[in-house]
């Protein structure tokens, strides 16, 4: 109820008393204002309290939630895509047709907690029974010297695991493991390389590549973003297997120490097969050689096709001739000086077995007969500088760009200075060393109409562009010359009817460690391409220290060793690639039928 400001009774009373009635009004106004102030303050306080409470509540809720999240164990969201665990594996490696070259398998590792072990001695003895390579005494010592954790084996087979279960000791424990498996055994071992375990834990272990493409493309194979998509190589399993079979047979027959072969598609640069013998099993990689005096080539891990840097001998001659033709210095019919022996300063350049193909020889015969002197004269026409540039453009001065971890380390050996005598020796493949893979890439440039394409071990779709290193005409003339080598030159054993093989032999004496050359140790190379009318494939075959003892005579020239092996490889491999022989096949049955 509202109190009036000037209550009549009090006013009248005040008037009677002669007081100022206005003071009554003032007093009442003051009382009213005080009441109003009290009320407003109460309301404001209440509002502040509510605001404060809501802030406390809101921040309290957020804080509590944060504390809860920090304190709980992280859990995978339950509705995640299935099989995420599988995709996190190392990707498979397949050949160009999708056949598995490397895959993963789940297995177990064995470890022990000696402190909870019931019978350390008995367990050690029983473990030795299961794994003969373990030593029970050493194992027992490790179980009893107070440590709380011991690794026993990295991988177990299911049978071994069952036997360990049967020991029944609570201190023996298993950890899941991913294991790399190469189902084809030794096949393409040098391409694949191998793997081992990196960081190891109880619940899982890292699988890391240690050699070959497994190491070179380790990041790609382990990348979870790839979603476990297999890595497709350019290798064809069938061709690889055939080449390894033929090469091994040839190596055995010719008593060679080692052998290598490369089959390459000249158009795309894809390596269809790459073999190096002796080989190894990537499932059980041998240890590298420790003996410091041993040559790297003595280990089966050594990849002769990529790491084997040899003087490649006369296979180099075609490069000098091709360059001279490209520069317009000669044409296939030009006669050049081939009078042997040739004297250059204090050096004497001779032909094989002291022949003399001179005094003049046509350029095409220089290649067919493999004349050192003729090539030397052609190289002198070119000159050192241009020769170096050309060899550089063919990739002979750099390691090959192949996707193998061994490739960048295999640098060609190039003379530091390049006087004219080096020009001469290099023109017939001495004095400078390169790997068979370098040779394959350079021959592929000739086969591909003069366009140099980078070799690769990964599958490519369609032809790729490259750098032109010589004109199409020069390339065609060079192929024609190489064809003559097989038809009537040093590689007549290399002719495979129907496949028009063209190629060049190379025989190089092996250099001694102490300087100089061995006379009875050679590296034989046959660099070939087929079919000559439209070259598609390049095949390089290299044999290390071969000798042919048939026909009561020891022969060490490539024409008698590497060439027949290459011919057999082409005979077996070309039909597998769907190459139809050019000749009409002789229809034997029809002839017999007619004569009857």
């Amino acid at each position: 109820m509202r109190t009036p400001l000037r209550p009549l009774a009090r006013i009248l009373h005040a008037r009677q008393e002669g007081l100022n009635p206005d003071s009554i009004e003032k007093e009442n106004l003051k009382v009213r204002h005080e009441a109003m102030r009290e009320k407003t303050r109460g309301r404001a306080q209440f509002r502040l309290f509510i605001l404060c409470a809501s802030f406390v509540f809101a921040f309290g809720a957020i804080g509590a939630r944060m504390g809860l999240m920090a304190a709980t164990e992280p859990v995978e969201p339950k509705s995640s895509a299935p099989g995420a665990e599988i995709i996190a594996q190392r990707a498979d490696i397949t050949d160009r047709n999708g056949r598995v070259l490397a895959t993963n398998m789940t297995t177990h590792a064995l470890y022990a907690h000696p402190k909870v072990m019931v019978d350390p001695k008995g367990t050690a003895v029983k473990l030795e029974e299961i794994f003969p390579e373990l030593d029970a005494k050493a194992l027992e010592r490790r179980f009893t010297d107070g440590r709380s954790f011991v690794w026993i084996r990295k991988v177990l087979s299911p049978e071994q695991m069952q036997k360990v279960h049967e020991i029944g000791d609570p201190g023996l424990l298993f950890g899941p493991r991913e294991m790399r498996l190469y189902p084809n055994g030794t096949l393409a071992a040098h391409v694949l390389g191998g793997t081992s375990f990196g960081a190891e834990g109880v619940h899982s272990a890292e699988v890391i590549g240690v050699a070959g493409i497994e190491k070179a493309l380790d990041a790609r194979l382990r990348d979870p973003a790839q979603g476990g998509k297999p890595l497709t190589l350019s290798i064809d399993l069938t061709l690889q297997s055939t080449i390894e079979e033929v090469l091994a047979a040839g190596m055995g027959m010719l008593n060679a120490k080692g052998a290598a072969a490369i089959l390459m598609d000249a158009r795309t640069g894809e390596i269809l097969a790459l073999a190096s013998l002796p080989t190894f099993d990537p499932n059980d990689r041998p240890n590298p050689l420790v003996d410091k005096n041993a040559e790297p080539g003595d280990s089966p891990l050594f990849n002769r096709a990529v790491q084997g840097v040899y003087e490649l001998g006369s296979t180099f001659k075609i490069f000098a001739v091709a360059q001279a033709m490209e520069l317009g210095l000669v044409n296939p019919q030009t006669m050049v000086d081939a009078n042997a022996p040739m004297t250059w300063g204090k050096y004497k350049i001779k032909e094989f077995e002291g022949h003399n193909y001179g005094p003049l020889l046509a350029v095409t015969d220089v290649i067919a007969k493999s004349s050192n002197v003729g090539t030397a004269h052609i190289a002198l026409m070119i000159g050192p500088l241009r020769q170096q540039q050309f060899l550089k453009s063919l990739g002979f001065f750099e390691p090959t760009p192949l996707e193998l971890v061994e490739a960048p380390g295999a640098k060609p050996l190039i003379p530091k200075k390049w006087p004219e005598i080096v020009t001469i020796t290099t023109s017939y493949g001495h004095g400078m060393s390169a790997s068979p893979m370098h040779l394959a890439a350079a021959y592929a440039a000739i086969a591909n109409g003069g366009v140099m394409i980078k070799p690769t071990l990964l599958k490519r779709e369609g032809p790729t562009t490259g750098v032109r290193v010589m004109s199409e005409k020069t390339a065609a003339d060079s192929v024609a010359m190489l064809r003559r080598v097989v038809l009537e030159g040093t590689a007549t054993l290399g002719d495979v009817p129907g496949y028009e093989v063209a190629g060049k032999t190379g025989t190089a004496d092996k250099p001694k460690k102490s300087g100089g050359y061995y006379h009875d140790k050679v590296v034989n190379t046959f660099a070939s391409m087929f079919p000559a009318s439209n070259p598609q494939y390049v095949l390089i075959v290299t044999l290390d220290e071969p000798q042919d003892d048939t026909l009561s005579e020891t022969r060490r020239t490539a024409g008698w060793t590497a060439v027949p092996v290459a011919a057999e490889i082409i005979r077996r491999v070309a039909p597998l690639m769907g190459l139809r022989p050019k000749l009409e096949p002789v229809v034997a049955d029809a002839v017999t039928a007619a004569s009857n």
């Binding site: 339950k78 509705s79 299935p82 398998m105 789940t106 084809n184 229809v587």
Partner: protein
Amino acid sequence: MRPVLYALSFLALIALGFWAYRENYATQAALKEVEGLQRQIVGLREALTVQRAEWAYLNRPDRLRELATANFDRLGLMPMEPSQFGTAAQVAYPAAKLPEISFTTDIQGTITSDAEGL
């Protein structure tokens, strides 16, 4: 009117509570099933990897070559050779059709085994 409304809302509350309870357990059951299925998928995938590896192992060229050699008398398989490519000319033409019989002749006689050429 008001008590009826109260009663109805109370009943609705109980019904919703029951529904939420059932949904909760149904969700948990579904999650458990998904988990089981996922474990099964992982197991099957692992088995698939093993089988793929085994297939590759059994089909490795070395083994196939040995098998082909061991069973040569039955299969007669040889490595592929250039001579195995044929030409279209080697395929025989289909035999010419016999002319239709236009008139009939009576033939009497016996057919012996020597008369195969006819």
